[in-house]
């Protein structure tokens, strides 16, 4: 069964003021050996050239949606609502996919029907324009590590629908909270040994105004949900 050749693939790329990097992210999606059926760029209220850069690609498979700034969770949800594919992938606007990312993951999906979520490995790299400045001062994964992040994921639509939308109140930790729900649902995940994405370290990765306490909120909401479920089951 050649699911890889039949399943429609949608890619959701949220962007907020990443004019310097979003073009490279989009190129890496369009250059896939298994090109996606649609790439949905969701602009989260950028005030720089991010939208113009995305629109300049003018490919039939690429759509740009725009919304008032509401955070990465809301932007991913907007993209999900518009996505029509059987398989859903995400890429963050500062990350870069390897050329065979979708092909490898779609093939794995095809071979393993029980798998709901496929991840791969990732490497981190210092963004070239800041390499000299940042080298030696930041810890990053130059060697491949299991990449349980949005940019490495390919998911079945049904799995995404079961997990539900990203928590739009969380400015960070939203993917952790989403994955905790996936885990609690018993969804099956697979991590391929291949490097499928490169994560850019540029020293300005989503500047926090709310601090990392959103991680604690993500954890609290996960604990509360589990307790409610246990109480219900008991």
């Amino acid at each position: 069964m050649a699911l890889a050749s039949r399943a429609r693939v949608s890619v959701v790329l949220p962007v907020f003021n990443r004019a310097a990097y979003v073009g490279e992210a989009i190129e890496s999606v369009l250059a896939q050996t298994l090109p996606p059926d649609e790439l949905i760029v969701v602009d989260d209220g950028s005030t720089d050239d991010s939208v113009a850069i995305a629109e300049a690609f003018s490919r039939p498979s690429l759509r740009v949606l725009r919304q008032e700034n509401a955070g990465i969770g809301a932007a991913r949800n907007r993209g999900l609502a518009a996505a029509t594919g059987d398989l859903i992938a995400f890429i963050d606007s500062d990350d870069v996919w390897e050329r065979d990312k979708l092909e490898l993951e779609a093939r794995a999906m095809s071979a393993r029907e029980e798998v709901d979520l496929v991840f791969g490995h990732l490497v981190e790299f210092l963004s070239p324009e800041r390499e000299e400045e940042l080298a030696g001062s930041l810890r990053f994964a130059a060697d491949p590590v299991p990449g349980l992040i949005a940019s490495t994921l390919l998911a079945r639509r049904g799995a995404v629908e079961r997990i539900g939308p990203f928590d739009e109140h969380l400015r960070v930790g939203e993917f952790v909270e989403w994955m905790a729900r996936a885990r609690d649902l018993g969804l099956v995940r697979l991590v391929l040994p291949d490097v499928v994405a490169r994560r850019r370290i540029h020293g300005q990765n989503t500047v926090l105004t709310r601090g990392s306490s959103d991680y604690l909120r993500a954890i609290k909401s996960t604990l509360d949900r589990r307790r409610a479920r246990a109480a219900h089951a008991g």
Binding site: D92, E124, G136, S137, L138, R139, F140, V145, P146, G147, L148, I149, V172, G173, F175, V176, M179, A180, R183, R199, I201, G203, Q204, N205, T206, V207, L208, G211, S212, S213, Y215, L216, R217, I219, K220, T222, L223
Partner: protein, 145 residues
């Protein structure tokens, strides 16, 4: 031990009381914790700069129990916090006067029970990867030690 003082193992460790529950997260390990009310009180006092002995007294007062009976339990719990790398020992003269610690719980406290936490490791892989990417101003990406 009784006179020892500690501080939060920042920036790796963050904590907050949310809806009356103290949640502690260690980005170094990817582990997270939920503290019971007694543990929350100890955490709040110790992290505010109280010595272990002073924290024990404050906790005893708070729960209306005899300080002598809980001192060893409090000390043992502080030892666990250190083992989990949630707190670091500091020189006594390195900390100023203890801050007026806010109480960990609002309203009536639960009855005294042995200080304890639940430790969770299920999101380790996710938590270890996530913050490096996302946080900048408040301590991330991490500086090399």
């Amino acid at each position: 031990m009784e006179g020892d003082r500690y501080c939060v193992n920042a920036p790796s460790v963050i904590s907050e009381v949310i809806d009356g529950e103290t949640i502690v997260l260690n980005f170094e390990s990817g582990h997270y914790y939920s503290f019971n009310p007694t543990a929350s009180e100890i955490w709040t006092r110790v992290c505010a700069g109280s010595s272990v002995a002073a924290a024990a007294e404050q906790v005893a007062q708070r729960f209306a129990v005899d300080p002598a009976t809980i001192a060893s339990e409090v000390a043992a719990f502080v030892g666990r916090l250190e083992e989990e790398r949630l707190i670091c020992r500091v020189a006594a003269d390195a900390v100023g006067a203890p801050e007026a610690a806010a109480t960990a719980c609002d309203g009536t406290l639960a009855a005294f029970s042995s200080p304890d936490f639940e430790k969770f490791t299920d999101m380790e892989e996710l938590l270890l990867l996530d913050p490096i990417h996302e946080v900048a101003d408040s301590g991330w990406p991490r500086k090399l030690a």
